[in-house]
Subunit: 271 residues, 2 copies
């Protein structure tokens, strides 16, 4: 495994990789969810590249940039064991007075975009930078960040980027909790509370299987399970993130965001 | 010469061009300034690609998008005669709800950016799209649009685009008038008035050669020649577009924008 920390090292390493490159951009603190991206990328490409960069521009004021988990040595060991070919760990990817990629208003102003103003501008900007640096044929993103995935797919299409975006299933603990680097913030009792998110989604899925089609009824059932957590949103949308009144099987995503103590968690289910 | 009007045709043509591609994005109504870009691109590359697309997003409300000169047949003939290998003439490059590239505030809010709000966002967005479609090794831009050139160089650096931006000298009529597709709007008497722009820049250049170093004195001399035209700005800046009080030879650009009748013209001189 080559570890590149500068653009020059990356460029040198990249030139030795003639073949299809699968790429997973991450913010580190790697867990089994990231490993599933690597595994899939290994199957579908000649080489796997992974970046670790805690991107400052996607954190808002008062968010957890400073305390976001950083686990450099453990991450390197995980990547090596998982068979990553190229690990890119840059110090800084920004200069002064730079242009940014602005997410479309319809995507940037709802759900995560409404609560985390500017978040998706930061995400699209860093993903553009990383795509141009790594030059992958395929890039792997988790469905857990569903709105991010949608906006990146939209950007790749809009800007005619020659990259296939591969959507990967959310990895969960046996108890249902969606893996997230932010789970590290949870105390033991908070981790129990955090199970309400996945449990509410499983209940929604059960109701839909029993032919419940009204989204209002499903939202009510989810809310019932989530309380007393502070809920940021419960949304039921189609694949283009238009709000739905009626479930359309194969075209629906149910998204929730809630606070467990000081920690903000998101989860979703694709129906 | 291959003419591609769709992304599919472009992609097919592009795959047959194995070698270095020089690219000049244009809005058509081609003149000798564009031809000088083609000529330079031919010298420095294996293939030359040129695009003609009147980009709607770089025109503001009330600007000249609808009446911008369109000369399809003449443009095709010029490209063929000049030895263009690939001419890309798409119908439309935008969809609904797309992300955009936003120029950095410092560049978007001064000079052209101040007067033409959102103009450079449109320019950077379309240039990004075209770069991703054409995949050139080098791209050719005229110094006449100096602020645009600067912002594109800045974008390529910020986003790590693997493209060399080649700055090309402004082409002028024998009488000094900088070539521009918008010169077509000028009546005969307006064309005489339009000469004031280049004449004022030549006078500035003459003063500097005579060791005038105070920008205030140079601005006054330029204004003297430009009147009674409506002047949008006279700016003397360094290569990073910071305003200068004293001329620094080899690092200075003098920029002017003025209205000749209903037509807005820009010109500049690199000192």
């Amino acid at each position: 495994m080559v570890i590149a920390t500068s653009r020059e090292e990356l460029s040198a390493a990249r030139q030795n990789m003639r073949g299809q490159i699968g790429f997973a951009p991450t913010m580190g603190a790697l867990h089994a969810g990231h490993l599933s991206l690597i595994e899939r990328a290994k199957k579908e490409n000649d080489f796997v590249a992974l970046s670790i960069y805690v991107n400052p521009t996607q954190f808002g004021a008062g968010e957890d940039f400073a305390r976001y988990p950083r686990k450099k040595e453990a991450d390197i060991a995980l990547c090596r064991a998982a068979g990553v070919d190229l690990l890119f760990m840059p110090e800084n990817l920004y200069g002064a007075n730079e242009p940014i990629v602005c997410a479309p208003l319809i995507g940037a102003s709802i759900l995560e975009g409404e609560i985390r103003r500017g978040h998706f501008d930061g995400v699209l900007t860093i993903v553009t930078k990383l795509f141009n640096l790594i030059k992958p044929m395929r890039a792997y993103f988790g469905k857990k960040d569903a709105q991010q995935l949608w906006l990146i797919q939209n950007m790749v299409k809009s800007f005619f980027m020659d990259i296939e975006i591969v959507a990967c299933e959310t990895t969960r603990e046996n108890n249902g909790l969606a893996l997230s680097s932010r789970n590290a913030y949870l105390s033991k009792s908070e981790k129990t509370d955090a199970l309400k998110l996945s449990r509410s989604l499983f209940e929604a899925s059960r109701l839909i299987k029993k032919n419940e089609t009204k989204t209002a009824a499903i939202v009510a059932a989810i809310l019932d399970i989530l309380q007393p957590l502070k809920v940021d949103y419960i949304a039921i949308v189609d694949r283009e993130f238009n709000a739905l009144e009626t479930i359309k099987k194969g075209e629906t995503i149910i998204l929730i965001a809630a606070r467990v103590g000081a920690t903000r968690l998101i989860d979703n289910m694709w129906i």
